[in-house]
């Protein structure tokens, strides 16, 4: 009986902790948005973070996009040609990338490349009391450190997803048209006819913006909220990558179910 009580208590404690943390995160987000005006006035801070989160993630995004596109080209052609529709390869590659793979894979890569770096940086600033020192100098760390990194992530993510998709289409073309020999005219014209700007591209962009918002928020929050020890920072980085991945996949399901309900 005691054993059961202890279990129930432990479960209750965890739930209370979770809810408390969620509330703290919501308050953190409110403060972050409140101070964003200040950090936008000093745009160079945000631009610097776009460089760190966005530009420095380019290599992994470009290379991964290319390989994902090439694999799509191989697998897609393999399946399509069984039904005699190898010419539709362009459509398959473009739709898979623009609707799903672009935002989702770019989001996952972004979380592990840039999100983890942001968490580590903010966490280490906390460990070395830099955030406290800033606060004592009457400079809000949320305005000066957190908000620029957050917006740097939110702005970079859709651009990276777009670049990922473009590289993927290029990879698909490389394999489909150049290597396998699918008709180039059919590849591009079918793609142009089947991909709708609002229904496919815009929805993909919306996804990538939402993922960017989620990953950037998780990354700055985990860094800001970490236990200020070496172990605390390492746990925070792990949590950033794991929660970002889960949140991206869950959000992707929810957004997809609203955006693409059959048709077209």
């Amino acid at each position: 009986m005691n054993w059961l009580m202890a279990r129930v208590q432990a479960l209750g404690g965890r739930v209370v902790d979770g809810v408390w943390r969620l509330g703290f995160a919501a308050r953190f987000l409110a403060l972050l948005l409140l101070y964003s005006g200040q950090s936008f006035r000093r745009l160079h801070l945000t631009i610097r973070e776009i460089y760190f989160s966005g530009v420095l993630s380019l290599l992994i995004i470009v290379v991964s996009g290319l390989f994902v596109g090439m694999v799509l080209g191989l697998q897609g052609y393999e399946t399509l040609q069984r039904f005699g529709s190898g010419d539709a390869l362009g459509v398959l590659v473009a739709l898979s990338l623009v609707r799903e793979l672009g935002p989702v894979v770019a989001g996952l890569l972004f979380a592990s490349r840039a999100g983890s770096a942001v968490t580590a940086e903010i966490g280490l600033m906390k460990v070395t009391e830099q955030l406290k020192a800033m606060d004592m100098m009457a400079v809000s760390p949320i305005a000066r450190v957190v908000a620029p990194r957050f917006w740097g992530g939110v702005i970079s993510m859709p651009l990276l997803a777009a670049i990922f998709s473009v590289m993927g289409v290029f990879g698909g073309w490389l394999i489909g048209v150049v290597v396998i020999g699918v008709d180039e005219g059919a590849f591009w014209s079918q793609m142009q006819a089947a991909v709708d700007f609002r229904y496919d591209v815009l929805n993909g962009v919306i996804k990538s913006v939402v993922f960017g918002f989620a990953v950037a928020l998780i990354a700055v929050f985990e860094g800001y909220d970490c236990t200020p020890t070496a172990e605390g920072v390492s746990r925070a980085i792990t949590r950033t990558v794991v929660s970002s991945a889960l949140v991206i996949l869950a959000l992707d399901f929810i957004l997809t179910s609203f955006m693409f309900r059959g048709g077209s």
Binding site: L124, T128, E129, K132, M134, M136, M137, A138, V139
Partner: protein, 263 residues
Amino acid sequence: MRLRQARFAYGEREILSGIDLEVRRGQVVAIMGGSGSGKTTLLRLIGGQLRPSAGEVWVDGQAVPGLGREALYRMRRRMGMLFQFGALFTDMSVFDNVAFPLREHTDLSPELIHDLVMMKLQAVGLRGAARLMPAELSGGMARRVALARAVALDPMLVMYDEPFAGLDPISLGVVGQLIRRLNDALGACSILVTHDVQESLEIVDYVYFVSSGRIVAQGTPDEIRASTDPFVHQFVHAEADGPVPFHYPAPPMAASLIGGGGQ
């Protein structure tokens, strides 16, 4: 700067229980006590990072706990704080670190900021290190840069959290003399939280001893040296055992060894 019957508790655990303390303009005051005696908490109360659970904290005629965020930030612009390991911004050069408060809080031209920063760095003897990054500095140099940054806005109150921790004897003397000289030049008041007895007694005007959240002794350096109070005596002469026990509370040794159940 005045604390009156200030108390602070984390939940059930009382850290400070009724502290009375006063620092006047021009004074350098040391707060001494063992690790975990609540000294740093005291600084946090003064800086408004924590609010006392009871009692008053006054700085320059204003009650710190009652200040809103804006007012608190206005007050902090006139306070400097030196953190235990300097807390320099590692992504900025020495120059940018010292320029940071000036750039954030003033509209001075870049030329003027440059001159001010150079003057502050000259005061701590590191004008030649302006272009270095914090990772390239020794512990003592980092502490001096942090000191230059803490006084960049010519504060009325400077707080030092363990300014001597981990310094070699030469750096220790240099930092000590700097604290005194800067305080006199600024006409500010300085509060040192430290357990470095000999160095502090050389430079301060008044000393408070804190133990278990209370002020247990106070006086001028000469009074402290001559004190017969057992706590002060133990502290000043660095004796291992005395009112501050060597052993963490434990059951008798025999019980731990033979009883088997003990730790």
